[in-house]
């Protein structure tokens, strides 16, 4: 059972805290821009793409994926903070189901990530990309379902880690590899076969791939998307459903 009032207030709390923490807002916006313009800008001169898009344009969908990945995971990891500082007890003794808590956390991760992805998306004209209004709607949709899936994944992680010391472990051994093995920085089809295996169990791969379809639909060269668009969307939707259920179970078990 899901209590709407509980989901609403959990989301409202995350938003209030997010708006108050200016440094968090700035850093989550600044990080993708640094990657896009400093890494992407530099590499553009080095990497011949052999197609219509420049390297900087190529990584744009990946950078959107990065924004979503970091914000979603970070948002869900706040469960660890709540446990550490005792606030989680207030939630756990309330007459609401554990699943409402998970839905509330996943929804706040989804909304916060999507808002930030939209801010980054607004930079597309500076990259010489032209994206139509229909594609923009599609990008926002893909961002939202991807964010929900990743925030649910974050809840699974948060259920298994107890203290905030584990935060750097999660960042270095789970989040960063997920980013590099998603086709965000280089096409999946150019990776060694073993690494390709990892990309295929990574929901971010399919999110980034769907965003590539929407960002440069006409690209045919080595930088083109690796999977069919429909497959991408179905995988993300399936991942969202499966991960939120696992998240719910894990949270129920470990509190």
């Amino acid at each position: 059972m899901i209590e709407a009032n509980a989901v609403y207030v959990i989301v409202a709390r995350e938003f209030k805290k997010f708006i108050r923490e200016k440094s968090r807002l700035i850093s989550t916006i600044a990080r993708p821009l640094v990657w896009l313009f400093l890494v992407g800008g530099g590499m553009s001169r080095l990497v011949p793409t052999g197609g219509g898009v420049s390297y900087m344009q190529f990584i744009f969908p990946g950078i959107l994926g990065m924004t979503i990945l970091f914000t979603s995971i970070f948002s869900s990891i706040s469960i660890i903070w709540d446990k550490e500082f005792g606030f989680m007890k207030e939630i756990l003794v309330a007459p609401i189901s554990r699943f409402s808590v998970v839905i509330g956390k996943a929804t706040s991760g989804m909304l916060l990530s999507t808002i930030q992805a939209v801010i980054i998306l607004a930079f597309f004209p500076f990259l010489g990309l032209s994206i139509g209004p229909l594609e923009i709607v599609g990008i926002i949709f893909v961002c939202a379902i991807l964010a929900f899936a990743l925030a649910s994944f974050g809840i699974v992680l948060a259920s298994f880690y107890e203290s905030y010391e584990s935060f750097s472990v999660i960042m270095n051994f789970i989040v960063m590899p997920m980013f590099f093995l998603s086709g965000a920085m280089y096409p999946v089809k150019l990776m060694p076969p073993i690494l390709q295996l990892f990309t295929k169990v990574n929901p971010l791969t399919f999110g980034v791939d769907a965003l590539k379809h929407l960002t440069f639909p006409l690209e045919k060269g080595p930088m083109s998307p690796d999977f069919p668009f429909l497959l991408d969307v179905l995988v993300i939707l399936a991942a969202a459903v499966v991960l939120v259920i696992i998240g719910g179970k894990a949270f129920e078990r470990k509190g």
Binding site: A6, V9, G86, P95
Partner: protein
């Protein structure tokens, strides 16, 4: 009517038995105190009553609902103030209260009013929009108690409510708590290991090593000691002791140059002594029994203090066990 009923409750964490077959009942709209040293099983019992953990065996019910199988009903009728603060320190006082009102589905029309009332009650109206991280320990506790009452619970649990507070804040908090049953029509279930603080309770259960060793009102418990103790300094202790034995038939003892006798009614006995052996008496003082004396008599030891003690080891073991297994 008994609002809380506990029958032969047992909770084991691996090899450790935290609660070892306790039974008790709590009358509606009274203050019930659970008294015992750290690691005695107080918090474990509260966690079972609050539906946070499942008992190994036995029953606990609250307002007629089983704390394990009917946890949803139980949760609606309880408020809890945990040992450690469970406020969100990055939100304001008002936001914390509002969060609670939503979480407990307080009707929309009443939310604002109940939050304002709680702020008023906690005497924090002028700090309502300040972040919790700027609050003192006493302010946080008052706010937590007020928050626990927002959804009009039938029972309010207070787990060591004064832990870590300075004496002044403690005193204020107690005045605040003793008024609750009358003002808010609520039953208070509290734990403490400060004996003197348990005096405000209507009934007390003394718990040690997971078992209830005695229960009753503070007055009843003090009777276990057998009345007041009178201390006398006299010119000749030996002679005085003999005279007391001859006159009152009471065996007196001597300690640190003072003789002392235990009598049921000290205030009536003192004039009697002065009349009979007045010339020898240099000084006289009387001591009423404290709950500390009761605990000492029942367990043969002082209640352990807050610092590291064998109880803390058990607590730590229980915590780490729960991290690994429980949380059902």
């Amino acid at each position: 009517m008994q609002i809380i009923k506990v029958d032969n409750l047992v909770k084991r964490f691996g090899a450790i038995t935290a609660v070892d077959g306790i039974s008790f009942g709590v009358e509606e709209n009274t203050i019930f105190g659970f008294l015992g040293p750290n690691g005695a099983g107080k918090t474990t019992t509260i966690n079972i009553l609050c539906t946070l953990i499942a008992p190994t065996s036995g029953n606990a019910s609250l307002d007629g609902h089983d704390c394990y199988s009917e946890s949803a009903e139980v949760r609606r009728s309880i408020g809890i103030v945990f040992q450690d603060s469970s406020l969100d320190k990055d939100l304001t006082a008002r936001e914390n209260l509002m969060f609670h009102a939503y979480l407990y589905d307080v009707p929309k029309a009443e939310r604002k009013k109940r939050v304002e009332d709680a702020l008023q009650f906690a005497e924090l109206r002028d700090r309502a929009d300040n972040l919790i991280k700027t609050f003192s320990g006493g302010m946080k506790r008052r706010l937590e108690v007020a928050r626990g009452l927002i959804h009009r619970p039938k029972v309010l649990f207070l787990d060591e409510p004064t832990l870590g507070l300075d004496p002044q804040s403690r005193q204020n908090l107690w005045e605040f708590i003793t008024d609750l049953p009358r003002k808010h029509d609520v039953t208070i279930f509290m734990t403490t290991h400060y004996m003197e603080e348990a005096e405000v309770c209507d009934r007390i259960a003394i718990i040690d090593k997971g078992r209830i060793i005695e229960s009753g009102s503070p007055q009843e418990l003090k009777k276990i000691i057998g009345g007041d103790v009178i201390y006398l300094k006299t010119a000749d202790n030996k002679k005085a002791m003999e005279e007391i034995k001859g006159l009152f038939g009471i065996e007196a003892s001597e300690k640190d140059g003072e003789i002392f006798i235990s009598v049921p009614k000290g205030e009536a006995c003192i004039p009697e002594i002065i009349r009979k052996i007045g010339e020898q008496v240099l000084s006289v003082r009387m001591q009423r029994p404290t709950l500390n004396d009761v605990f000492l008599k029942l367990t043969g030891k002082e209640i352990r203090e807050e610092n590291a003690s064998p109880g803390d080891d058990i607590k730590e073991a229980v915590r780490s066990y729960r991290r690994r297994h429980d949380r059902s």
